[in-house]
């Protein structure tokens, strides 16, 4: 028994000694071009809790940053520095690798964040799923960020472009200025206060976009899910598509003059809730069972006497207000609502 205690004590002492040595280790931020950036800072965080690895590299303001993580969580924030900084908890190795053409006098244009749970990897292959852990990235606000994550949540904010491909976990994006392409299989997608081209696709989760506008009139917003709901609120794009199979689709907000809107589901409901003074041409359709409920008076389009109504199928097509935008609302077996708000 005493021997066991002695052995454990010795092992513990060795461990603490090794940990303290590692914590003191600090590497200079290497800015060698074309080579893996070994900027290493292995230190105990200020809070005294888990050790974090920190890496940084100077970068162009429009740098493209990529990370492929096996499991864990990813937080990405834009900042005003021309620098990419990565911090990771509970990982063995963390590396920022400059890829593509490099210029000695400039910051990195492409950076791959490589993560491994082992310290022994001789070479960390780029583009392969990394280890598990919590990764935080600070990137220039003009950056394009590509993230892949097999399992875990993603939060990303204040960057120019966000491309996220997640297997199992939620994706939460805010203040994306140029383009957002967010996809996840099992999990929900939230996009808020952003602008530019938007494509959101979830398999089983909900998709929600709130307060999103186009940077130019050709840009579109497409939000799809299979069994989740699609909710679009405060969307200022002129081309909008919301589609799901068994969920519901809701559009809440103003209609852009001249815009095209398509909201479609197979077995859920479709709701369009817009201001009472809205103007648009509408085609509302239900095929099997559902009904069309409208708060708006739907009139005939120009050159016709009455709106189209086909009671056998559930079709209502006509003009609201002065027309202008084209709105298509369809549910195969659910109900379509046109609501004033």
């Amino acid at each position: 028994m005493k021997l066991t205690v002695l052995i454990i004590t010795i092992l513990l002492a060795l461990t603490l000694s090794k940990g303290a040595h590692a914590a003191e280790e600090t590497d200079e931020a290497a800015s060698a071009h074309g080579a893996p950036v070994a900027a290493a800072q292995l230190a105990t965080s200020e809070e005294g809790t888990p050790q974090h690895l920190t890496r940084n590299v100077s970068a162009e303001s429009d740098v493209v940053v990529s990370l492929y993580l096996g499991a864990g969580s990813i937080v990405v924030r834009g900042w005003d520095k021309k620098e990419v900084r990565a911090r990771a908890g509970e990982v063995g190795r963390l590396e920022l690798r400059r890829t593509g053409a490099t210029d000695g006098s400039r910051g990195a244009r492409r950076v791959e964040v490589l993560v491994s749970n082992s310290e022994d990897d001789e070479e960390m292959p780029a583009g392969e799923p990394g280890g598990t852990g919590h990764i935080e990235l600070d990137v220039p606000r003009g950056a394009t960020v590509n993230l892949k994550l097999r399992q875990g949540d993603v939060e990303i904010s204040d960057v120019a472009e966000a491309r996220v491909d997640s297997g199992n976990g939620d994706v939460d994006a805010r203040r994306i200025s140029r383009a957002a392409e967010l996809s996840c299989l099992s999990g929900s997608i939230y996009l808020r206060d952003s602008s530019g081209r938007v494509r959101l696709n979830a398999m089983s989760g909900d998709v929600e976009a709130v307060n999103v506008r186009a940077a130019d009139e050709r840009e579109e917003l497409i939000a799809t899910s299979t069994s989740g709901d699609v909710r679009l609120e405060g969307i200022a794009h002129a081309r909008v598509e919301g589609r799901t199979v068994s969920g519901s689709v809701r559009f809440i907000g103003r209609i852009t003059d001249g815009g095209t809107y398509s909201l479609k589901t197979t077995s859920g409901d479709v709701t369009l809730a817009v201001p009472a003074d809205s103007s648009f041409n509408v085609k509302a359709l239900v095929v099997a069972g559902g009904e069309i409920i409208t708060d708006f008076e739907v009139g005939a389009v120009e050159g016709t006497k009455k709106p189209i109504t086909k009671l056998s199928k559930g079709l209502l097509a006509g003009r609201v207000g002065a027309g202008g935008a084209e709105v298509s609302l369809s549910s195969f077996s659910g109900t379509v609502y046109l609501r004033k708000r």
Binding site: Y68, S118, T226, A300, K310
Partner: protein, 320 residues
Amino acid sequence: MKGKCLDEGILQGYLDGELSAAQTREAETHLAACASCMAALREAESELSFFSATFAPDPSVSVPTELLRTRLEAAVEALESAPAPERRRATWKLKGWLSALVAPLAFAPQRAGAYAGVAAVVVFAVIFVSLQTLRPRPTGDPTQDARPETAAVTPAAPQAAQSTASNADQSTEVEPLEVASNETGRRESRLAQVKFNRAATRTAAPTERVEASVPTPAATQPEQEVVQKSVPGEETYQQAIASLARAVRATGDAALTPAVRADYERNLAVIDRAIEETRRAALRNPQDADATAFLFSAYQSKIDLLTAVADQTQSAALGR
């Protein structure tokens, strides 16, 4: 097994990949239809993840440390403060814990996955090339032939035209409003273009397949006069779906977690139901372009789903 919930042993075996192929299929079928078993599976998987994370090797040391103890205590505290667990949870903890300990020693089939991924890419390439050769000749209809390339792949455009015709035909119910119908037709065409553009950015092969056999009104007219067993245009979707499904199957096991795989099966079932339902309506009334549009939309959803899953699985397998 369909009517009976999965017991703990089966669920755990499924999670650990210990079931036979037949048992796995049965379990997946049941999971796709049973919310409570799905929840139980998620819980088990969550526990396994918890233990995997908690007992992950600490890279800086070779023996337990203060850090590890802290993590364990924090994790246990978090578990204890969670809502009261179900009865079967306790045994799962132990099994999950053991699995987590053994996991680092297990063989990782990454290379096998990579080879399967390469095979999937080859399949895609072959399909793509064959589609190029099957591209339809000009129809002679200027409205069809003059459309831009992206618009040419949309089945919605001819349907919109059919819709106009069918609306006008049913004069007992519909005021024949050509202007309204035409406007609607144009709008649908634009939206469909957006839809297929999106598919094109994700995967070339399915899009090209769609393009290859989109029916023109002239081509479908004779078929509508006989009893139909298929909806014109759906074969293209079916072929694309079959190709994608093969690609997913080739790499799926290596990349999807059991919970995601079960979720995927459940969503496939959702879409298949939608396809079945809309297809019945489309076959019942071949003149109903709206029903056909719903059918194609459901097919498109399946293509989107399979593409997303294929992206995940192939990326993992190929290490892209």
